[in-house]
Structure formats: structure tokens, C-alpha cells
Amino acid sequence: MYRYDEFDHTLVNERVHQFRDQVERRLSGELTEDQFKPLRLMNGLYLQLHAYMLRVAVPYGTLSSTQMRKLAYVARRYDKGYGHFTTRQNIQFNWPKLEETPDILADLAEVEMHAIQTSGNCIRNTTSDQFAGAAADEIEDPRVYCEIIRQWSTLHPEFTFLPRKFKIAVTGADHDRAAVRVHDIGLQMCRNEAGEVGFEVVVGGGLGRTPVIGQTIREFLPKQHLLSYLEAILRVYNQLGRRDNLYKARIKILVRSEGIESFRNLVEEEWSHIKESALQLPLDEIARIENYFSPPRYERLDDTVRELEVKRFEDRDFASWVRTNVSTHKQPGYAVATISLKPTGKPPGDASAWQMDAVADLAESYSHSEIRVTHEQNLVLAHVKKADLYALWSGLRDVELATPNAGLLSDMIACPGLDYCNLANARSIPVAQRISERFSDLERQHDIGGLKIKISGCINACGHHHVGHIGLLGVDKKGEEFYQITLGGSADENTAIGKIVGPAFSYDDVVDAVEDIVDTYLEYRSDGEEFSDTFRRVGLAPFKEKLYAAH
């Protein structure tokens, strides 16, 4: 993975000093809270319902075991012993003290981490495919370009006060695990007719209160022009994006009001001026960054591993975990392991300090000391020898991290909701907990198969409910918590926005409603169909029938 050189170290350390000074000015009263707010937000420090929250960047979701140990240390030393992994592949600490935040950032800087641009109307952490570098269907490792974008976007002087926050996602694989079509800019690596590798550029996607699927602005962008093209898009957006209404300020609204053709013309015109500038990426610079992401030294192994097959036969729990949480690796004899942060009845995405330490140890023993955070709020060890899977699983089980539910119903996304967030209409986490308890029988979940339930506590859609197969949105009905249900959403290469099924359900009834939906799906599903397939075929009607006939 990427390692800082002297420039990266200097910048992050200087940023810590700068923030320490700003916090001191706040504590001494020189700055009012109003004046301090934009400064703290530039460093990921939010004020929540009960306390400050610090969001730490995990660039493109890749962590070393040393960094993971430091996060455990921070959780223990400055927080209540846990952290929360987010859908932006970052980690949040929910209880830091203001006066200690500069120390936290200084501790993080020691392991090449920071909280820069984890909030504010700037270019946020660039997200990527959690299977990057290990997926068989990958053209190139997308993290190389994520790192190039990270550097270019860090403290970008022109784009620090955009109309609204700006999110970029990159994927190198055909199967889109990074949801690139619901980002402000999505980059899909592809080849042109000459076989050169570049990007399809998608612009104007997003969730929030106006979900929009992004449109292709350029079919093929050669690699060396990546930054100039991004700069052109951002420059057009920075000048023309709406600033009069918070909810109309994202680039998706600009692209829609201009129309993609006209928006493309504006961008291409701007690009024609800066294409050949210092923004052009020298090939040796790309190669330099590529070096950091070169694959680990794989052993030459057989893909069929006898020990693994024996253990699967002997141990049903292990077999069940392998079935859901282990994916194919491009290298024979290796596998990708997903560590579920969704144990039954626990808040999705939370990990305790001791769990983080354990994952760091296991990554060192079995996966080249590297860990990924997924946008579905799980962790991934990307390069595990199949022969080590049993040992890895046993180690995970010891710290309650071996829940065999990756991709299944209980692998839900839920935003912080009313328990933490001052914008919430309704609770999210307790609903997720109740659903996972209702379906706690894993055999039943296996029968149901892959299913994505996503829950947001309000229209801001932090829980991505629009792109859940089943989406739950917290709404307020005369002061009561209600949940509007959408069906048929999807965040992969067949991105779709879910459709509202009908009137919302109360907090008490919403879990029954989810169960009714699942039962209806099972009733109508034909062989080999996933939820989206069945839904496309039968539409909303049978679900409506089941949900509202009885009520």
C-alpha cells in the first residue's frame, strides 16, 4: 500500500499544528463557535446530538495493521473503547473531547493518517472497490488512481469551498462494488479500441433527498489526463453550481438543469485549456505510485486445497462462513475474506478496540498486514491463503467477528439515526437490530440468499436506502417514527433507485413488513433469481398486495 514520503509527512504534521492552534484559539475564547465551526469541519470534527464526533479518513478504505492498531489505541484512550466504520470507508469516533482532538490527530499522523477533508464542501475521501488488487475481473488496481486523486485533492486551493461536498469513486473491475454511478464523479476503468487503459467518466450521480443515477460524460479518458479532466469538471461546478439552496447544490442538480450535452460542452471547453498543463500525469509518476500497490509475493499454489475441503466437511459453522464470507481471488490457492461487522443485534459497522487489535494481528499472520474497509461497513482481508482460512476463521470467532452473513439479509447498512444524529426523524440502528434478530436463523438467511437492506433515519440518505433491494427511510408522522419502504434499488453496475411501495409503517410494524416482503419474494422467485431479478419481473403489485391487504 501507499507509504508517505517526506512531503506527505510534512503536510499532515503541519495540519496537526494548525488545528492545535485553532482549537487553542477556540478554547481561549478568541474564536466563537460560529467562527470555529468551518475550521473544525475541515478536520472532520462534527458536533452531534450528545458530543463531538471525529471522522478519520481511511483513504480508499485501505489500512495497514499498524494503522488499525492505532485506531484501536485511539478508541481506548480517547473514546469509549469502540469506533464506527462508515459507508464512506472511513471510521468515526463518537465521544472525543474537543481539547484532546489535536492529540488524536497527532497520534494518527504518526501512522500516516489524518482527518483532512472528511467533512466540509470539498472533495471528500475517494472510495474504491474493497476487492481492489485481488478481484479476478479487474483491469488495474483502482487505488493507484485513488491515491493520485487523494494527493491532488488534498487542500486544493480552488476547491475548498465548493457549493457542496464532492465525492469521487473509482473502480477497476467490471462488477461495480464501489457504486460509481451514485457519486458526484464515478470513474470506471476501461480499455479503448487500441487496448489502452483509461476511464469512463460518470458525473452527477448521488443519493440524498434527490437520488440520481450518474451519466457518462466521457466514454474514454486516457490516464495521463485524469487530473486535468477532474479539474475541468470541478471548475465548471465551482462556478455554476447553485449556492442559494443547500438541497440543490450538488453537481447532480447542475448536470440535470444544464443537460448532460451542455454540461459536457462546458467541461470539454475548460479542459481544452488545461489538458496540456502541469496537471498532465507523467507516466513515471503513475508508475511510481503503482509500485506501492504492486501485488504481494504470492506463493505458487494449487487452487484446490485439501485441508480446506476437509475442514469444511468437518465443521458446519466454518463451512457456512466460507460460503458467505469468502470470495474468489485472482491468484490460485488464495481467497478474499470478508469480516462481517454485523453480528446479530449489534449496531452495523461498530468494532471494539480489542476486535480492531485482533484484526490487525490476523492481517499480519494471514493477509500481508493489510485490511480494507468496505462501503457496506465490513472489513476485508484480501490476500488469504486458502490453507489459512480455517485458522483465520478460528481467530475471528474468538473475537466474535465470524458472523457468516456477508451479503445476506442481516448484512445491513444503517445510518446513525436518531440515536446520534440531530437531523434524524427516526431510529435506524435499533430497526436494523430488530430485523437481524427476527431473521437470526442463518439457515433461513441462506435460503433467502443475497439481499441488501439499507436504512436511513431521514431523507439525507446516509444509509443509502434508495439503492437497497429493500430500503427503509425514517419519516416523521405527527411526532411518531415511521418508515417508508422502497423496493428494487441497486448500487452495482445495474444501478437503480428503489420504488416506494406504499404508505409508511410504524416503528412497531416495520419489521413485520420486512418479513412480509421477504416472504413475498420467496413465493414469487424462480430458480436462480436474485431479489432484483424477481422484482423486475413481478413489479410492486404482489408486494403491495401482501403488505396492505391484511392491514
Binding site: 506527505d8 510534512t10 503536510l11 503541519e14 475550521l39 486551493p157 480552488e158 476547491f159 449556492r243 507523467p282
Partner: protein, 165 residues
């Protein structure tokens, strides 16, 4: 309003005129509206002239006239209205404007560095304390990752020039 130039408080020889103000002797800064409606009269005065753009007025509107101005003042109605950062880049990079690019409005020390990197070289601030903070504000962060309109060299260029390890 105190004016910072080259890092120190400077005498401001320019008078900013509102549209209803009478024309005065000496160097003046007028609004875009006034420039557009009184262009010939203003040019015939033969005194230095500047123009002030609101945050929804791009310098592209003046592209053909820029060599007539010694100052272009770009307004920040709020510090977080970031349009003028792009306007400054356009003035410097696209139109090769060599005159003064002045930040006016809600101009705060925490943004000096960003402004300077985008090509601003004069800053109207609310009070003199901001001037005292100048040096620190622009040197707190010494590393830059992207080419700007200033003389700082981005990390990429420095890395490429460093002797092989």
C-alpha cells in the same frame, strides 16, 4: 478597510465607487454594471481604473477588456462562497492578467493561503490583526500537491527533481 499587499499593510490608493457615487479624481474601482454602461466615459478619463466583480460575475465577461484594468477586485460575500477562487485562476492562467487581483468582502486569515495560491495578491481585511497573522497563515502549510497560480512548486515537481535515492 486595511489592505494587505506583499504580506504587509499597504496604503490603498484606490477608491471603490458604488454605482450611485459621483466619479472622483484619481484611481477608481467601478462595478461591472458601471463599466458596461459608462465604458467610453471611463476610458476617456485617462486615470487608472479597476473593476469589481460580484461572486456571480465571471471575468470571462471582461475577457476583451482586461488589459484596460490595473485591478480586478473579486467579492467574497461569504467566506464559503468559493466561486472567486476559480475566477482568480482564470484571470491568471487563462487571461494572463498581470494586474492586481484583490480579494474583497468576507476575507479571513484562514483563507489567505488558498487565495494566494489561486492568484490573489491583495487582500482587504476587516481589521489590522489579520495582517499580523499573515506570515503564519501563508506558511503554516508548506507542502502543495497541485499546480496553482502562485510560485510554489507542487510535490510532484519536487519529487521528480530530487536526486535518485
Amino acid at each position: 478597510m486595511p489592505l494587505i499587499k506583499e504580506g504587509v499593510l499597504a496604503e490603498d490608493s484606490w477608491q471603490a465607487l458604488a454605482d450611485e457615487d459621483e466619479l472622483v479624481e484619481g484611481p477608481i474601482v467601478v462595478t461591472l454594471d458601471r463599466w458596461q454602461s459608462e465604458r467610453e466615459a471611463l476610458l476617456s478619463r485617462n486615470t487608472p481604473i479597476g473593476v469589481r466583480l460580484k461572486s456571480d460575475q465571471t471575468p470571462a465577461l471582461l475577457a476583451d477588456d482586461l488589459d484596460r484594468f490595473a485591478v480586478v477586485a473579486l467579492e467574497f460575500p461569504k467566506f464559503n462562497d468559493g466561486r472567486a477562487y476559480s475566477y482568480a485562476r482564470l484571470l491568471r492562467d487563462r487571461y494572463a492578467f498581470k494586474g492586481e487581483v484583490r480579494a474583497v468582502g468576507n476575507v479571513l486569515r484562514d483563507q489567505f493561503l488558498l487565495m494566494q495560491r489561486c492568484g490573489f495578491d491583495a487582500f482587504e481585511v476587516a481589521n489590522e490583526a489579520a495582517a499580523a497573522a499573515w506570515e503564519k497563515a501563508i506558511s503554516e502549510i508548506s507542502v502543495t500537491y497541485q499546480p496553482g497560480a502562485d510560485a510554489r512548486r507542487p510535490a510532484l515537481a519536487l519529487r521528480r527533481n530530487r536526486p535518485a535515492a
